[in-house]
Protein backbone atom coordinates (compact mmCIF):
# COMPACT_ATOMS: atom_id res chain seq x y z
CA UNK A 1 0.00 0.00 0.00
CA UNK A 2 1.23 3.46 -0.84
CA UNK A 3 1.41 5.99 1.96
CA UNK A 4 -0.22 9.35 1.23
CA UNK A 5 -0.42 12.69 3.01
CA UNK A 6 -3.62 11.64 4.71
CA UNK A 7 -1.98 8.76 6.58
CA UNK A 8 0.62 11.04 8.07
CA UNK A 9 -2.01 13.59 8.96
CA UNK A 10 -4.06 10.99 10.81
CA UNK A 11 -0.98 10.06 12.83
CA UNK A 12 -0.14 13.67 13.65
CA UNK A 13 -3.73 14.52 14.59
CA UNK A 14 -3.96 11.49 16.87
CA UNK A 15 -0.66 12.52 18.45
CA UNK A 16 -1.87 16.07 18.99
CA UNK A 17 -5.08 15.03 20.69
CA UNK A 18 -3.34 12.35 22.77
CA UNK A 19 -1.06 15.14 23.93
CA UNK A 20 -3.96 17.44 24.78
CA UNK A 21 -5.73 14.60 26.63
CA UNK A 22 -2.57 13.76 28.55
CA UNK A 23 -1.96 17.41 29.42
CA UNK A 24 -5.31 17.64 31.16
CA UNK A 25 -5.47 14.22 32.81
CA UNK A 26 -1.92 13.32 33.92
CA UNK A 27 -1.01 14.01 37.52
CA UNK A 28 2.77 13.87 37.26
CA UNK A 29 4.56 17.01 36.02
CA UNK A 30 6.95 14.91 33.94
CA UNK A 31 4.06 13.07 32.28
CA UNK A 32 2.51 16.46 31.46
CA UNK A 33 5.80 17.52 29.90
CA UNK A 34 5.86 14.35 27.79
CA UNK A 35 2.30 15.07 26.62
CA UNK A 36 3.33 18.53 25.50
CA UNK A 37 6.30 17.08 23.66
CA UNK A 38 3.88 14.79 21.85
CA UNK A 39 1.92 17.83 20.69
CA UNK A 40 5.05 19.63 19.50
CA UNK A 41 6.18 16.56 17.57
CA UNK A 42 2.77 16.32 15.92
CA UNK A 43 3.30 19.81 14.50
CA UNK A 44 6.77 18.87 13.28
CA UNK A 45 5.34 15.89 11.38
CA UNK A 46 2.75 18.19 9.82
CA UNK A 47 5.33 20.68 8.59
CA UNK A 48 7.61 18.00 7.15
CA UNK A 49 4.76 16.14 5.44
CA UNK A 50 3.15 19.23 3.90
CA UNK A 51 6.50 20.26 2.59
CA UNK A 52 7.43 16.84 1.19
CA UNK A 53 4.12 16.07 -0.52
CA UNK A 54 2.49 19.40 -1.35
CA UNK A 55 5.42 21.77 -1.95
CA UNK A 56 8.37 19.50 -2.83
CA UNK A 57 10.42 22.27 -4.46
CA UNK A 58 10.62 24.36 -1.27
CA UNK A 59 12.31 23.97 2.10
CA UNK A 60 10.26 26.24 4.34
CA UNK A 61 8.39 23.47 6.13
CA UNK A 62 11.54 21.51 6.83
CA UNK A 63 13.15 24.59 8.32
CA UNK A 64 10.09 25.13 10.46
CA UNK A 65 10.42 21.53 11.74
CA UNK A 66 14.09 22.05 12.52
CA UNK A 67 13.42 25.22 14.45
CA UNK A 68 10.52 23.52 16.18
CA UNK A 69 12.78 20.71 17.38
CA UNK A 70 15.49 23.11 18.58
CA UNK A 71 13.08 25.37 20.43
CA UNK A 72 11.27 22.39 21.99
CA UNK A 73 14.62 21.15 23.31
CA UNK A 74 15.32 24.52 24.92
CA UNK A 75 11.87 24.57 26.47
CA UNK A 76 12.23 21.06 27.82
CA UNK A 77 15.56 21.93 29.42
CA UNK A 78 14.01 24.86 31.26
CA UNK A 79 10.90 22.90 32.18
CA UNK A 80 12.92 20.04 33.67
CA UNK A 81 15.09 22.50 35.61
CA UNK A 82 11.95 24.06 37.07
CA UNK A 83 10.44 20.64 37.85
CA UNK A 84 13.63 19.68 39.72
CA UNK A 85 13.32 22.90 41.68
CA UNK A 86 9.69 22.05 42.50
CA UNK A 87 10.85 18.67 43.73
CA UNK A 88 13.55 20.24 45.91
CA UNK A 89 11.02 22.56 47.50
CA UNK A 90 8.12 20.17 47.97
CA UNK A 91 9.63 16.68 47.75
CA UNK A 92 7.16 15.49 45.10
CA UNK A 93 5.91 16.43 41.64
CA UNK A 94 2.28 15.26 41.67
CA UNK A 95 -0.15 18.00 40.72
CA UNK A 96 -2.69 16.95 43.38
CA UNK A 97 -0.28 18.00 46.09
CA UNK A 98 1.13 21.14 44.45
CA UNK A 99 -1.82 23.34 45.27
CA UNK A 100 -0.47 26.15 47.40
CA UNK A 101 -1.75 28.68 44.89
CA UNK A 102 -5.49 28.63 44.32
CA UNK A 103 -8.66 30.66 44.74
Amino acid sequence: MEIHVIHYLVVSTVMLFCGIYGFFTRKNLLAILISVELMLNATNINFAVFNRYLFPDQLEGHFFSLFGIAVAAAETAVAIAIIINVYRNMKQILTDDITDLKG
Partner: protein, 470 residues
Protein backbone atom coordinates in the same frame (compact mmCIF):
# COMPACT_ATOMS: atom_id res chain seq x y z
CA UNK B 1 22.47 46.78 3.89
CA UNK B 2 19.82 49.44 4.42
CA UNK B 3 17.49 46.79 5.78
CA UNK B 4 19.76 46.16 8.72
CA UNK B 5 19.46 49.79 9.78
CA UNK B 6 15.81 49.06 10.53
CA UNK B 7 17.06 46.51 13.08
CA UNK B 8 19.06 48.98 15.13
CA UNK B 9 17.03 48.37 18.28
CA UNK B 10 17.52 44.60 17.96
CA UNK B 11 21.27 44.96 17.51
CA UNK B 12 21.34 47.42 20.40
CA UNK B 13 19.49 44.89 22.51
CA UNK B 14 21.97 42.10 21.75
CA UNK B 15 24.80 44.46 22.70
CA UNK B 16 22.96 45.39 25.90
CA UNK B 17 22.53 41.73 26.86
CA UNK B 18 26.25 41.07 26.34
CA UNK B 19 27.23 44.19 28.30
CA UNK B 20 24.94 43.11 31.14
CA UNK B 21 26.45 39.62 31.20
CA UNK B 22 30.02 40.93 31.26
CA UNK B 23 29.22 43.55 33.89
CA UNK B 24 27.78 40.85 36.12
CA UNK B 25 31.01 38.87 35.76
CA UNK B 26 33.37 41.80 36.26
CA UNK B 27 31.75 43.83 39.04
CA UNK B 28 32.50 42.60 42.54
CA UNK B 29 29.56 41.26 44.51
CA UNK B 30 27.29 42.48 45.96
CA UNK B 31 26.82 44.32 42.69
CA UNK B 32 23.07 44.89 42.54
CA UNK B 33 23.34 48.69 42.85
CA UNK B 34 25.73 49.36 39.91
CA UNK B 35 23.94 46.70 37.84
CA UNK B 36 20.63 48.43 38.38
CA UNK B 37 22.09 51.77 37.33
CA UNK B 38 23.60 50.12 34.25
CA UNK B 39 20.33 48.38 33.34
CA UNK B 40 18.41 51.66 33.65
CA UNK B 41 20.91 53.48 31.42
CA UNK B 42 20.86 50.67 28.83
CA UNK B 43 17.07 50.51 28.61
CA UNK B 44 16.91 54.29 28.36
CA UNK B 45 19.32 54.14 25.41
CA UNK B 46 17.26 51.32 23.87
CA UNK B 47 14.08 53.38 24.15
CA UNK B 48 15.75 56.13 22.15
CA UNK B 49 16.99 53.55 19.59
CA UNK B 50 13.43 52.22 19.22
CA UNK B 51 11.99 55.69 18.73
CA UNK B 52 14.49 56.54 16.00
CA UNK B 53 14.33 53.16 14.25
CA UNK B 54 13.44 53.57 10.56
CA UNK B 55 10.82 51.39 8.88
CA UNK B 56 12.22 48.71 6.59
CA UNK B 57 12.74 45.03 5.83
CA UNK B 58 15.58 42.63 6.49
CA UNK B 59 16.34 38.94 5.90
CA UNK B 60 14.31 38.79 2.72
CA UNK B 61 11.12 39.99 4.37
CA UNK B 62 11.27 37.76 7.46
CA UNK B 63 11.82 40.87 9.53
CA UNK B 64 9.50 43.79 8.75
CA UNK B 65 9.62 46.93 10.82
CA UNK B 66 6.81 49.49 10.62
CA UNK B 67 6.58 52.83 12.38
CA UNK B 68 3.83 51.64 14.70
CA UNK B 69 5.90 48.57 15.60
CA UNK B 70 8.75 50.89 16.56
CA UNK B 71 6.36 52.87 18.76
CA UNK B 72 5.19 49.65 20.44
CA UNK B 73 8.79 48.60 21.03
CA UNK B 74 9.53 51.98 22.57
CA UNK B 75 6.54 51.62 24.91
CA UNK B 76 7.58 48.10 25.92
CA UNK B 77 11.16 49.23 26.58
CA UNK B 78 9.97 52.18 28.64
CA UNK B 79 7.81 49.75 30.63
CA UNK B 80 10.84 47.55 31.25
CA UNK B 81 12.75 50.62 32.36
CA UNK B 82 10.06 51.33 34.96
CA UNK B 83 10.18 47.70 36.13
CA UNK B 84 13.95 48.01 36.57
CA UNK B 85 13.62 51.15 38.67
CA UNK B 86 11.04 49.47 40.89
CA UNK B 87 12.89 46.15 41.27
CA UNK B 88 15.71 47.59 43.40
CA UNK B 89 14.21 46.80 46.80
CA UNK B 90 13.53 43.16 45.90
CA UNK B 91 17.04 42.63 44.52
CA UNK B 92 18.56 44.09 47.69
CA UNK B 93 17.43 41.08 49.71
CA UNK B 94 20.23 38.78 50.74
CA UNK B 95 18.85 35.69 49.01
CA UNK B 96 18.28 37.47 45.68
CA UNK B 97 21.03 40.11 45.51
CA UNK B 98 23.51 37.70 43.94
CA UNK B 99 21.00 37.04 41.13
CA UNK B 100 20.60 40.70 40.14
CA UNK B 101 22.66 40.31 36.98
CA UNK B 102 20.63 37.27 35.93
CA UNK B 103 17.40 39.15 36.50
CA UNK B 104 18.38 42.04 34.23
CA UNK B 105 19.82 39.76 31.57
CA UNK B 106 16.82 37.44 31.44
CA UNK B 107 14.44 40.39 31.33
CA UNK B 108 16.34 41.94 28.43
CA UNK B 109 16.31 38.55 26.64
CA UNK B 110 12.53 38.33 26.90
CA UNK B 111 12.31 41.90 25.62
CA UNK B 112 14.47 40.92 22.65
CA UNK B 113 12.01 38.14 21.86
CA UNK B 114 9.17 40.63 22.01
CA UNK B 115 10.99 42.94 19.59
CA UNK B 116 11.14 40.08 17.08
CA UNK B 117 7.51 39.17 17.69
CA UNK B 118 6.29 42.71 17.15
CA UNK B 119 8.18 43.25 13.91
CA UNK B 120 8.10 39.80 12.36
CA UNK B 121 7.33 39.28 8.70
CA UNK B 122 6.90 35.52 8.73
CA UNK B 123 5.50 32.93 11.09
CA UNK B 124 8.99 31.50 11.64
CA UNK B 125 10.41 34.77 13.01
CA UNK B 126 7.23 35.24 14.99
CA UNK B 127 7.51 31.78 16.56
CA UNK B 128 11.18 32.24 17.43
CA UNK B 129 10.43 35.64 18.94
CA UNK B 130 7.56 34.23 20.95
CA UNK B 131 9.71 31.45 22.37
CA UNK B 132 12.64 33.78 23.03
CA UNK B 133 10.17 35.84 25.01
CA UNK B 134 8.58 33.01 26.97
CA UNK B 135 11.48 30.66 27.85
CA UNK B 136 13.52 33.23 29.85
CA UNK B 137 10.21 34.44 31.26
CA UNK B 138 9.72 31.03 32.91
CA UNK B 139 13.18 31.37 34.49
CA UNK B 140 12.19 34.82 35.77
CA UNK B 141 8.96 33.50 37.29
CA UNK B 142 10.89 30.76 39.12
CA UNK B 143 13.76 33.09 40.09
CA UNK B 144 12.99 33.04 43.84
CA UNK B 145 14.48 29.60 44.03
CA UNK B 146 13.82 28.88 47.68
CA UNK B 147 10.21 30.03 47.75
CA UNK B 148 7.95 27.15 46.90
CA UNK B 149 5.28 29.46 45.46
CA UNK B 150 7.76 30.73 42.92
CA UNK B 151 8.71 27.20 41.85
CA UNK B 152 5.07 26.19 41.54
CA UNK B 153 4.28 29.31 39.52
CA UNK B 154 7.25 28.64 37.25
CA UNK B 155 6.15 25.07 36.56
CA UNK B 156 2.62 26.19 35.76
CA UNK B 157 3.90 28.95 33.51
CA UNK B 158 6.34 26.90 31.44
CA UNK B 159 3.93 23.99 30.94
CA UNK B 160 1.00 26.15 29.87
CA UNK B 161 3.29 28.24 27.71
CA UNK B 162 4.56 25.10 25.92
CA UNK B 163 1.00 23.87 25.53
CA UNK B 164 -0.11 27.13 23.98
CA UNK B 165 2.82 27.35 21.59
CA UNK B 166 2.16 23.76 20.48
CA UNK B 167 -1.45 24.69 19.69
CA UNK B 168 -0.35 27.82 17.89
CA UNK B 169 2.24 25.92 15.89
CA UNK B 170 -0.36 23.35 14.87
CA UNK B 171 -2.47 26.17 13.49
CA UNK B 172 0.53 27.55 11.62
CA UNK B 173 1.27 24.11 10.16
CA UNK B 174 -2.29 23.90 8.78
CA UNK B 175 -1.90 27.36 7.35
CA UNK B 176 1.36 26.33 5.74
CA UNK B 177 -0.34 23.26 4.31
CA UNK B 178 -3.04 25.32 2.64
CA UNK B 179 -0.94 28.27 1.48
CA UNK B 180 2.54 26.85 0.96
CA UNK B 181 4.27 29.77 2.62
CA UNK B 182 5.01 31.09 6.08
CA UNK B 183 5.42 34.73 5.02
CA UNK B 184 2.63 37.01 6.18
CA UNK B 185 2.14 38.87 2.90
CA UNK B 186 2.24 35.73 0.71
CA UNK B 187 -0.02 33.75 3.02
CA UNK B 188 -2.58 36.56 3.09
CA UNK B 189 -2.97 36.32 -0.70
CA UNK B 190 -3.67 32.57 -0.48
CA UNK B 191 -6.35 32.68 2.21
CA UNK B 192 -9.97 32.27 1.18
CA UNK B 193 -11.66 31.12 4.37
CA UNK B 194 -11.80 27.37 3.68
CA UNK B 195 -12.72 25.19 6.68
CA UNK B 196 -9.11 24.10 7.19
CA UNK B 197 -7.98 27.71 7.21
CA UNK B 198 -10.67 28.61 9.73
CA UNK B 199 -9.45 25.73 11.93
CA UNK B 200 -5.89 27.03 11.53
CA UNK B 201 -7.03 30.50 12.57
CA UNK B 202 -8.80 29.11 15.65
CA UNK B 203 -5.74 27.09 16.72
CA UNK B 204 -3.52 30.11 16.21
CA UNK B 205 -5.88 32.34 18.15
CA UNK B 206 -6.08 29.83 21.01
CA UNK B 207 -2.30 29.72 21.23
CA UNK B 208 -1.97 33.48 21.42
CA UNK B 209 -5.02 33.68 23.71
CA UNK B 210 -2.97 31.80 26.31
CA UNK B 211 -0.21 34.38 26.10
CA UNK B 212 -2.59 37.33 26.43
CA UNK B 213 -4.64 35.30 28.99
CA UNK B 214 -8.06 35.73 27.41
CA UNK B 215 -10.73 33.83 29.28
CA UNK B 216 -11.05 30.25 28.26
CA UNK B 217 -7.23 30.17 28.33
CA UNK B 218 -6.56 32.19 31.48
CA UNK B 219 -6.27 29.44 34.13
CA UNK B 220 -2.51 29.81 34.61
CA UNK B 221 -2.60 33.59 35.09
CA UNK B 222 -3.71 34.02 38.73
CA UNK B 223 -1.40 31.29 40.05
CA UNK B 224 1.61 32.50 38.10
CA UNK B 225 1.02 36.14 38.99
CA UNK B 226 0.66 35.33 42.67
CA UNK B 227 3.66 33.05 42.88
CA UNK B 228 6.12 35.06 40.78
CA UNK B 229 8.33 37.72 42.40
CA UNK B 230 6.40 41.02 42.35
CA UNK B 231 8.56 42.94 39.82
CA UNK B 232 8.32 39.94 37.48
CA UNK B 233 4.54 39.92 37.90
CA UNK B 234 4.46 43.57 36.95
CA UNK B 235 6.57 42.85 33.89
CA UNK B 236 4.39 39.87 32.90
CA UNK B 237 1.18 41.79 33.28
CA UNK B 238 2.08 44.72 31.04
CA UNK B 239 5.07 44.17 28.79
CA UNK B 240 4.62 40.52 27.85
CA UNK B 241 0.86 40.91 27.49
CA UNK B 242 1.17 44.08 25.45
CA UNK B 243 3.61 42.53 22.98
CA UNK B 244 1.37 39.50 22.43
CA UNK B 245 -1.74 41.66 22.01
CA UNK B 246 -0.08 43.85 19.41
CA UNK B 247 1.28 40.83 17.53
CA UNK B 248 -2.20 39.27 17.51
CA UNK B 249 -3.68 42.44 16.07
CA UNK B 250 -1.00 42.78 13.43
CA UNK B 251 -1.36 39.15 12.30
CA UNK B 252 -5.15 39.13 12.31
CA UNK B 253 -5.16 42.26 10.19
CA UNK B 254 -2.25 41.38 7.91
CA UNK B 255 -2.68 37.63 7.38
CA UNK B 256 -6.31 36.89 8.19
CA UNK B 257 -7.63 40.14 6.72
CA UNK B 258 -9.80 38.21 4.24
CA UNK B 259 -11.47 36.25 7.02
CA UNK B 260 -12.54 39.23 9.08
CA UNK B 261 -16.15 38.02 9.58
CA UNK B 262 -14.86 34.75 10.98
CA UNK B 263 -12.49 36.16 13.54
CA UNK B 264 -14.44 39.21 14.57
CA UNK B 265 -17.31 37.01 15.78
CA UNK B 266 -14.90 34.75 17.67
CA UNK B 267 -13.04 37.69 19.12
CA UNK B 268 -16.24 39.51 20.13
CA UNK B 269 -17.47 36.51 22.14
CA UNK B 270 -14.06 35.94 23.75
CA UNK B 271 -13.76 39.63 24.73
CA UNK B 272 -17.16 39.75 26.43
CA UNK B 273 -16.54 36.48 28.30
CA UNK B 274 -13.01 37.60 29.27
CA UNK B 275 -14.07 40.91 30.74
CA UNK B 276 -17.12 39.52 32.55
CA UNK B 277 -15.56 36.41 34.07
CA UNK B 278 -12.38 38.21 35.13
CA UNK B 279 -14.39 40.98 36.79
CA UNK B 280 -16.56 38.54 38.72
CA UNK B 281 -13.52 36.66 40.01
CA UNK B 282 -11.61 39.84 40.82
CA UNK B 283 -14.36 40.91 43.23
CA UNK B 284 -13.73 37.78 45.33
CA UNK B 285 -9.96 38.13 45.70
CA UNK B 286 -8.24 39.06 48.97
CA UNK B 287 -4.62 38.79 47.85
CA UNK B 288 -3.49 41.90 45.98
CA UNK B 289 -1.33 40.09 43.41
CA UNK B 290 -4.09 37.64 42.62
CA UNK B 291 -6.55 40.49 42.46
CA UNK B 292 -4.32 42.36 40.02
CA UNK B 293 -4.02 39.15 37.97
CA UNK B 294 -7.80 39.07 37.43
CA UNK B 295 -7.79 42.79 36.85
CA UNK B 296 -5.14 42.34 34.18
CA UNK B 297 -7.19 39.59 32.49
CA UNK B 298 -10.10 41.98 32.25
CA UNK B 299 -7.79 44.76 31.01
CA UNK B 300 -6.55 42.33 28.32
CA UNK B 301 -10.16 42.08 27.17
CA UNK B 302 -10.32 45.86 26.75
CA UNK B 303 -6.95 45.82 25.05
CA UNK B 304 -8.03 43.42 22.30
CA UNK B 305 -11.21 45.43 21.85
CA UNK B 306 -8.91 47.58 19.71
CA UNK B 307 -8.13 44.46 17.64
CA UNK B 308 -11.84 43.86 17.05
CA UNK B 309 -12.14 47.01 14.97
CA UNK B 310 -9.59 45.61 12.51
CA UNK B 311 -8.62 49.08 11.31
CA UNK B 312 -5.80 51.57 11.67
CA UNK B 313 -7.94 53.42 14.20
CA UNK B 314 -8.30 50.22 16.23
CA UNK B 315 -4.58 49.62 16.18
CA UNK B 316 -3.81 53.17 17.31
CA UNK B 317 -6.30 52.88 20.17
CA UNK B 318 -4.77 49.52 21.20
CA UNK B 319 -1.26 50.95 21.35
CA UNK B 320 -2.52 54.00 23.23
CA UNK B 321 -4.39 51.76 25.67
CA UNK B 322 -1.20 49.79 26.15
CA UNK B 323 0.85 52.89 26.96
CA UNK B 324 -1.69 54.07 29.53
CA UNK B 325 -2.07 50.61 31.01
CA UNK B 326 1.73 50.25 31.38
CA UNK B 327 2.10 53.32 33.61
CA UNK B 328 -0.97 52.66 35.75
CA UNK B 329 -0.34 48.95 36.31
CA UNK B 330 3.38 49.36 36.99
CA UNK B 331 2.65 52.05 39.59
CA UNK B 332 0.37 49.61 41.41
CA UNK B 333 2.81 46.71 41.18
CA UNK B 334 5.61 49.01 42.33
CA UNK B 335 3.66 49.86 45.46
CA UNK B 336 2.63 46.24 46.05
CA UNK B 337 6.32 45.33 45.80
CA UNK B 338 7.38 48.04 48.26
CA UNK B 339 4.73 46.98 50.79
CA UNK B 340 5.65 43.31 50.35
CA UNK B 341 9.33 43.98 51.02
CA UNK B 342 8.55 46.05 54.12
CA UNK B 343 5.77 44.05 55.74
CA UNK B 344 6.00 40.65 54.02
CA UNK B 345 2.29 40.77 53.16
CA UNK B 346 0.40 40.99 49.89
CA UNK B 347 -3.19 40.74 51.15
CA UNK B 348 -5.55 43.68 50.97
CA UNK B 349 -5.85 43.99 54.76
CA UNK B 350 -2.19 45.06 54.84
CA UNK B 351 -3.38 48.31 53.21
CA UNK B 352 -5.91 49.22 55.92
CA UNK B 353 -5.23 52.72 57.15
CA UNK B 354 -2.40 53.10 54.65
CA UNK B 355 -3.38 56.72 54.15
CA UNK B 356 -2.34 57.75 57.64
CA UNK B 357 1.20 56.41 57.43
CA UNK B 358 2.09 56.68 53.73
CA UNK B 359 0.11 59.53 52.17
CA UNK B 360 2.29 59.81 49.05
CA UNK B 361 2.16 56.13 48.12
CA UNK B 362 -1.59 56.13 48.81
CA UNK B 363 -2.03 59.11 46.51
CA UNK B 364 -0.18 57.42 43.61
CA UNK B 365 -1.99 54.12 44.18
CA UNK B 366 -5.38 55.84 44.22
CA UNK B 367 -4.76 57.71 40.98
CA UNK B 368 -3.44 54.54 39.31
CA UNK B 369 -6.54 52.59 40.39
CA UNK B 370 -8.77 55.43 39.15
CA UNK B 371 -6.95 55.30 35.83
CA UNK B 372 -7.42 51.53 35.54
CA UNK B 373 -11.09 51.95 36.43
CA UNK B 374 -11.50 54.64 33.78
CA UNK B 375 -12.43 57.69 35.84
CA UNK B 376 -11.91 61.02 34.03
CA UNK B 377 -9.72 63.07 33.81
CA UNK B 378 -7.05 60.38 34.19
CA UNK B 379 -5.47 58.69 31.17
CA UNK B 380 -7.44 55.45 31.67
CA UNK B 381 -10.68 57.21 30.79
CA UNK B 382 -9.37 58.41 27.44
CA UNK B 383 -7.78 55.09 26.52
CA UNK B 384 -11.05 53.25 27.27
CA UNK B 385 -12.93 55.88 25.31
CA UNK B 386 -10.72 55.40 22.25
CA UNK B 387 -10.96 51.58 22.19
CA UNK B 388 -14.73 51.80 22.63
CA UNK B 389 -14.92 54.40 19.86
CA UNK B 390 -12.89 52.28 17.46
CA UNK B 391 -14.93 49.12 18.11
CA UNK B 392 -18.19 51.10 17.88
CA UNK B 393 -17.03 52.64 14.63
CA UNK B 394 -16.59 49.12 13.21
CA UNK B 395 -20.18 48.27 14.19
CA UNK B 396 -19.62 46.10 17.27
CA UNK B 397 -22.02 48.06 19.44
CA UNK B 398 -23.22 45.07 21.50
CA UNK B 399 -19.69 44.17 22.57
CA UNK B 400 -19.02 47.80 23.44
CA UNK B 401 -22.22 47.99 25.49
CA UNK B 402 -21.36 44.86 27.49
CA UNK B 403 -17.80 46.12 28.04
CA UNK B 404 -19.21 49.42 29.29
CA UNK B 405 -21.45 47.65 31.82
CA UNK B 406 -18.38 45.75 33.00
CA UNK B 407 -16.48 48.99 33.55
CA UNK B 408 -18.90 49.74 36.36
CA UNK B 409 -18.29 46.34 37.99
CA UNK B 410 -14.55 46.92 37.73
CA UNK B 411 -14.91 50.29 39.47
CA UNK B 412 -16.40 48.47 42.46
CA UNK B 413 -13.37 46.29 43.07
CA UNK B 414 -10.81 48.98 42.32
CA UNK B 415 -12.55 51.19 44.85
CA UNK B 416 -12.44 48.38 47.45
CA UNK B 417 -8.68 48.94 47.62
CA UNK B 418 -9.14 52.69 47.86
CA UNK B 419 -11.64 52.12 50.66
CA UNK B 420 -9.17 49.91 52.54
CA UNK B 421 -6.53 52.62 52.30
CA UNK B 422 -8.66 55.61 53.26
CA UNK B 423 -11.69 54.49 55.24
CA UNK B 424 -11.17 51.13 56.95
CA UNK B 425 -10.15 51.68 60.58
CA UNK B 426 -7.29 49.69 62.02
CA UNK B 427 -5.14 49.86 65.12
CA UNK B 428 -1.94 48.82 63.37
CA UNK B 429 -1.57 50.38 59.91
CA UNK B 430 1.55 49.57 57.91
CA UNK B 431 4.57 51.59 59.12
CA UNK B 432 5.84 54.57 57.11
CA UNK B 433 8.27 53.55 54.35
CA UNK B 434 11.16 55.29 52.73
CA UNK B 435 11.77 53.94 49.22
CA UNK B 436 15.08 54.15 47.35
CA UNK B 437 15.52 57.23 45.16
CA UNK B 438 15.30 55.28 41.89
CA UNK B 439 12.02 53.62 42.88
CA UNK B 440 10.58 57.00 43.82
CA UNK B 441 11.61 58.39 40.45
CA UNK B 442 9.92 55.43 38.74
CA UNK B 443 6.70 56.02 40.65
CA UNK B 444 6.76 59.72 39.83
CA UNK B 445 7.20 58.92 36.14
CA UNK B 446 4.19 56.57 36.34
CA UNK B 447 2.18 59.29 38.07
CA UNK B 448 3.17 61.80 35.40
CA UNK B 449 2.11 59.29 32.73
CA UNK B 450 -1.28 58.79 34.35
CA UNK B 451 -1.89 62.55 34.52
CA UNK B 452 -0.35 63.69 31.23
CA UNK B 453 -0.98 60.90 28.68
CA UNK B 454 -4.73 61.52 28.75
CA UNK B 455 -4.73 65.28 28.66
CA UNK B 456 -2.10 65.76 26.02
CA UNK B 457 -3.86 64.73 22.87
CA UNK B 458 -0.68 64.76 20.78
CA UNK B 459 0.15 61.21 21.85
CA UNK B 460 -2.98 59.70 20.34
CA UNK B 461 -2.66 61.77 17.15
CA UNK B 462 0.93 60.62 16.79
CA UNK B 463 -0.05 56.95 17.17
CA UNK B 464 -2.92 57.38 14.68
CA UNK B 465 -0.51 58.83 12.12
CA UNK B 466 1.85 55.89 12.61
CA UNK B 467 -0.86 53.22 12.34
CA UNK B 468 -2.28 54.72 9.17
CA UNK B 469 1.05 53.85 7.53
CA UNK B 470 0.70 50.25 8.70
Amino acid sequence: MNGFLSMQAEFGMVAAIVVMLLADLILKRPNHKPLQALAVVLTLALTVLCLTEPAGEAFGGMYVNTSIASAVKAILTAGTLLVFTLAGRWLEREDTSYKAGEFYMLTLSTLFGMYLMVSSGSFLTFYIGLETASIPMACLVALDKWRRHSAEAGAKFILSSMFSSALMLYGVSMLYGTSGTAYFTDAAAMLAGTPLQIAAMVFFFAGLGFKISLVPFHAWTPDTYQGAPTPVTGYLSVVSKGAAAFALTAILMKVFGQMVENWSLLLGIVIVVTITVANLFAVLQKDMKRFMAYSSISQAGYLVLGTLAGSGQGMASLVYYLAVYVVANLAIFGIIGIVEQQTGRTDRDAYNGFYRTNPHLTFIMTLALFSLGGIPPFAGFFSKFFVFASAFHAGHWLVVFLALVNTIISLYYYLLVVKAMFITQTDSPAPAFKSPALARTGLVVCLAGILVLGICSGVYDWLTDLSMQF
